[in-house]
Structures are given as C-alpha cells and as structure tokens.
Symmetry: C2
Subunit: 342 residues, 2 copies
DNA sequence: CCAGCAAATGCAATCGATTGCGCTAATATA
DNA sequence: TATATTAGCGCAATCGATTGCATTTGCTGG
C-alpha cells in the first residue's frame, strides 16, 4: 500500500485542463470564473478527493483560521462550557479552536500568549488568571492588530472587547433572595479584590444589604482562595470569631461546599439555621445534601457571545472602533440550601 | 503608531550580511554554519525581535507541530485532566494542542476527524464517543500515516497504540473491597456493552464475586446512560424488583450519585445498609454526604503516557512497528460510602 | 606552486494556494 | 465597421522558511 501522493490544485488543473489559478478561483467561487468551469473543477475536486491545504492558504493570506483560547483551567464546568460555546460558533464558520490553560499562573499566561502568537492564531480569547495584575503581554497582541476578547475574568485596565455577566446584579439578587428568606446576618466569601468579578459581587452584596436596611459588617466578608479548603477555613474564621452569621453568599461554588461540610460537621441545620448560596452552578451543587442554591452564569451563551464579538472584529473594519463590553444576565437558581420559607 | 512590518529571516540576512539560507541554517543550528555566523544571526534575530513563522515552516516540511485531541466532552474532570497531561508533555516539546469535543455524537466525531486532517495536524489522540461502533473514519488517518493514539475509551477493532487503565483489575479491587466490608449482594451499574471499559469493569466485578464464592446474579447488573438520572433509574429498578442488594459498584461516578440520592430519599443508611463505590474520582465524590468511594484513573498520567506514545511514533521509524497497549494501574479510593467496618 | 578536499555559504527551487495584472475573445456601443 | 467593454482565464510573483546542489574560499599535502 504505497503512500498516496498529496493532491493539490495543480492536479485538479491538469484534470480539468485549466491552470491552478483558475482552479483556485473556482474553488473560492470567484465571480470571474464561468459557471461551467466551476462545476468541472468542483466535480474533479470531488472525484480525486482533493483536500485544500490550509497551511498553504494561511501562509499566503496570513489567516490561519485558528482561534486561541486561554482559560485558567478547563477543568471547571463553567470554563469548559464557555469553550463549548465558542467552539460551536467558531466551527460553524470554519474556524478551529486552540485551547490553553494558564493554571492561574501569570508566567504561564504570558508564555501561552507568546505561543499562540507564534502559532499565528487569528485571534485570542482570554479569561484572566487570578494572579494576573500586569497586562503588558496583551499589548503586543493589540499592537499586532490581532482581535482580542476577554470573558468573565476581565480587566478594565485594557481597552478591549469583553463579555461578562452582570456580577453586580447577580450578587444583588442572590443576597436579596437570602434576605427575603429571612436571613439577616449574611456573610460573604470572596477572593482577591484585584479581580473584577469579586469586586462586583461584593458591591452587589453590599448594596442589597443597604437597600434592605441591613448594616454592612466588614467582618462578615472573608477572603480565601475560593477552593474547598478556602471555604472551610473561611467558615471556621466566622465561627471562631463568633460573629453570629445566619447565611453565606459565596462568590464560588467550591467555597460554599466547604462551608456546607463544616457546618454539617457541627450539626448546623441547613437551611433552617444557616442559608447558603454559591456562584457558578457547577454540576455538583445539585449533588450535595441539601442541594445548593447558586448563580448560573450561562456559560455557553457567554462563549457564543464572545465568539460573536470576535467575528465582528474580524469582519468589520477595526480601526478606532470603540470597544464593547457585553453584559449578560445570569440566573439565580434557588435550591434547598437557601429555602427556609414554606 | 504604524503597523510593524513583519520581520522575516530576510531581514536578519540583510542585517548580518548573509543570505536567508544561511540565516535559516544558523537558526536551526546546522553543522555547516560557522559558530561566529551563528552567533551573529542569533544576536540579530533577538535584536530585531524576530519570530519564526511556523506556518511557512509547516508548509515547507509538512509538519504543523499541532496535535489534535478528541474527547467526548471536556466538561469532565477526567478528560480535562488527561488533556492537561497531554498538554504538559506536548508544550515541553514545542507542540500545540487542538482540542475538539465529539459530545458522544458519532457524526460529530467523524466530522472532527476530517477537520483535524484539514488543519494538517501532525497527530491525533482520541477517546471514543459512546456511540462510535464503526471505525472507518480512522482508517484514513492511518492510511495517511498520521500518528494515532487512543486513550481510555478505545477499541480493539483497530490496530493502534492505546493507553488505558486496568479497568478489569480496578473493578476487581473495588468489588473485592466491598466484599471485605461484608457486603454480599453487590449490584453493578454499567453502560453499553459495546464499550471496552464497561466490558472490562463488568468482567472484574464478576471475577471478584466468583473468587469470593459469591454467585453472579445477572439481575443485579443494570445498564443505563451512566448519568445522574441513569443512576436514579437503575436504583429504582433494583428496588422495584426487590432484589435485596446491599451494595452497588458503579462504573460511573455520576450514576452512583444518582443512587446515593435515591437511597437517601427512602432513608437507606449509607454505608450501614448499602455500600457504594463509583468510578473516576470526579471532584464531587468528595463533596457528597457521605463522601463516595471511587476509583482514581490517574488522568494526568494517562495524558502524559498518551503524549509519550505519540512522540515515540513521531520520532521512531514507524513502518510496521507493532502497536503497543499501555496499561496503567488505577487507584481505589476508599471513602465513607463503603466503609462500614470499624 | 597546484591539485584536492573540506568548510562555509549562496543560488534557486520548493511547499500549495492566492492574486494583481495582462491577455484574448466575445459582446456591446456608436 | 471600428472601437469600447467585459467576461474568462493564464502568467508569474508572492507568502516565509527550507534544502539539494552548486560555488567560493582556505588550507593541506605532494
């Protein structure tokens, strides 16, 4: 079984009796090629099983039809769903997607940007790492005129297109929900205050308290890494300081599970004694006992929006176009952990 | 701020006063280039911030330095961790990774293979979709001589390199563990019997029963989609048929959570009355109440092994090399749901 | 002093597709 | 009928890096 020769447009040209130029134009549906020739070319292409070499095309017109995506970790339902949304939109337009993970490591994020530029991607979509507070590595992307879209973990220090959810409003609604359920001493689990989403969620939390005549007590706001153990530690801090909280609104589902575990360990009744609301709608929030209320971020929508924004940038004339910030609404999902009325 | 001209080896050549050929060879550390010239070229390259155009290189020597990965869904800790393992290994060798999801859809899997071939990837690594029982789409990959590695969800109908865990042994150990804990009527949740991993896990389950003098009762083996609802339905089937089971070994973590929920709903005590063991060590198994015993598949190891296998194929002379099947050992993680002794 | 050889580099083709420009022939316009 | 258009296609350069085959230079040995 000998190796099949690679078949190129020249083979089609030979077959049809025209030149490669004509074949190329025919394949690209160029208006200056007659319908009959086009048909012959298309038929011949199919007949000899021609596959265009995207690499050659990419070299010629500088488009790789590749989009680079960087997320902190793909290993989260939220991020993998966003990627899914992007992929769906991109594949429909004949683009492929390259995924990289920064693991919340600043250096890796920088290196990944480099790698994507090396790979000559046509655009980059990023959700920032937790430790990224310097944005120089994106400047070179912008300078090269490569479309750049941020989603979810974004920054305002850079003038770029971004897609986010209304973190402020979601937090406001989640907190209001707890208040409606009769909780009054609501704690808040959060993370690095340099990160926009945590700032916003805190802001929504505060405003909801304010609007309902509840005093904001900074001691009830606890920072951690937002992982399971972070949630556990934060819970202990609240307990140890004897702050008498009766609910927790956490900016992360992982942290709220940590709280749930610790509270159950000391026989605190959920939701009767303490109400819990998380953030992200990770699948496991439906698996816990009791099930956890949380905020669904409509990840797939976000991915599709981000992709849509990207393709707008690709098609439109980009010079001096003002950058847009697309804000999606999230969805509070009320489950057992915060429902104590009725 | 005008657009920076693209800088190529010709710019370096001009700078140094040699030709592009020499520059190319110098950059690639060709032995016929003098050390001094090499140094000058390297210095100049750095000075003018030269970035090689991988697309051009790819076109010339037919290597894209891209690896395509296809998984059913990235949205599972197991798969995303495998991808992480592959990525780590690949990036270290200056390869990039393109991830695609088949969503367990046969047609999408076929289309994705096409797309990856179109993108001229240098190799493909696949975990098969649940509904893939025809493998013609891989034949064209093999014919083109493109390295192909299967992992986890593999098939023996194709002569390819593969990386799997010892599903048989893991199931044997999990079942044996339940028996040691005093359970005697152990049910098994499984899925499509066309899929290797489920065959193997069933086999291990059976053999463990046999070796411990327990009768194998086919009515205790329940097939489902292995999702949460599948686990719930399977549990009801067991209950409705009044089969008097006292443990479940599930080939999926999702299904075992479904069982856990249903059993708790009717006040069955876990692990006192019924013991549970899942498979995959999804993160949420540590979040449930009680925590779930499960089998850890060492996903990152698997990814790295798969990548290692791939690079062996790339480097070695591939003709007629016998295909290898790399079998990794998994790890039984005993948590509360199956620990009733002591 | 010159053939002989090796080291170092240049020349030019090549990978496959794209595209500006030009050419031919057919059709339209005057 | 002569000129102006236009449709349809070919020529050849191009994208940037690579590489087989020269070519040049320098050195060794006879």
């Amino acid at each position: 079984m000998r190796k099949k020769e690679k078949i190129t447009i020249h083979d089609i040209a030979l077959e049809v009796g025209v030149t490669a130029s004509t074949v190329s134009r025919a394949l690209n549906n160029h208006p200056r090629i007659s319908a009959t020739t086009k048909k012959m070319v298309l038929d011949a292409a199919k007949a000899i099983n021609y596959k265009p070499n995207r690499i050659a095309a990419a070299l010629r017109h500088g488009k790789s039809k590749l989009i680079g995506i960087i997320v902190p970790t793909i290993n989260r339902n939220f991020f993998s769903s966003i990627v899914r949304g992007i992929e769906e939109h991109a594949n429909a337009l004949d683009y492929k997607v390259m995924i990289s993970q920064s693991y919340d490591d600043y250096k890796k994020e920088v290196a990944t940007i480099e790698a994507l530029l090396d790979a000559r991607v046509d655009g980059i979509m990023v959700s920032l790492g937790k430790n990224t507070h310097n944005f120089d590595h994106f400047e070179s992307v912008l300078q090269k005129g490569i479309p750049l879209v941020f989603f979810d973990r974004t920054t305002d220090k850079l003038n770029v297109n971004q897609v986010i959810i209304n973190d402020y409003l979601s937090a406001y609604q989640a907190t209001s929900h707890l208040i409606e359920q009769g909780y009054r001493h609501i704690a808040h689990f959060t993370s690095h205050m340099k990160i926009r989403i945590y700032q916003e969620r805190l802001r929504g939390y505060e405003q909801a308290l304010l609007d309902n005549g509840i005093n904001f007590d900074p001691r009830l706001v606890v920072e951690s890494n937002m992982q399971l153990d972070g949630g556990q530690m934060s819970t202990h801090r609240l307990l140890d300081n004897n702050l008498g909280f009766d609910a927790i609104f956490s900016a992360s589902d992982y942290a709220i599970v940590g709280a749930l575990q610790e509270l159950k360990r000391i026989n605190v009744k959920i939701p009767q004694e303490v109400g819990l609301v998380g953030f992200s709608n990770e699948p496991f929030t439906a698996f816990t006992e009791p099930t956890l209320s949380t905020v669904d971020q409509k990840a797939i929508d976000m991915g599709q929006s981000a992709a849509a924004l990207f393709f707008e940038m690709v098609n439109a004339d980009q010079r001096n176009k003002p950058k847009v910030k697309k804000v999606l609404d999230a969805n509070l999902i009320v489950r057992a952990s915060s429902k104590r009325l009725q």
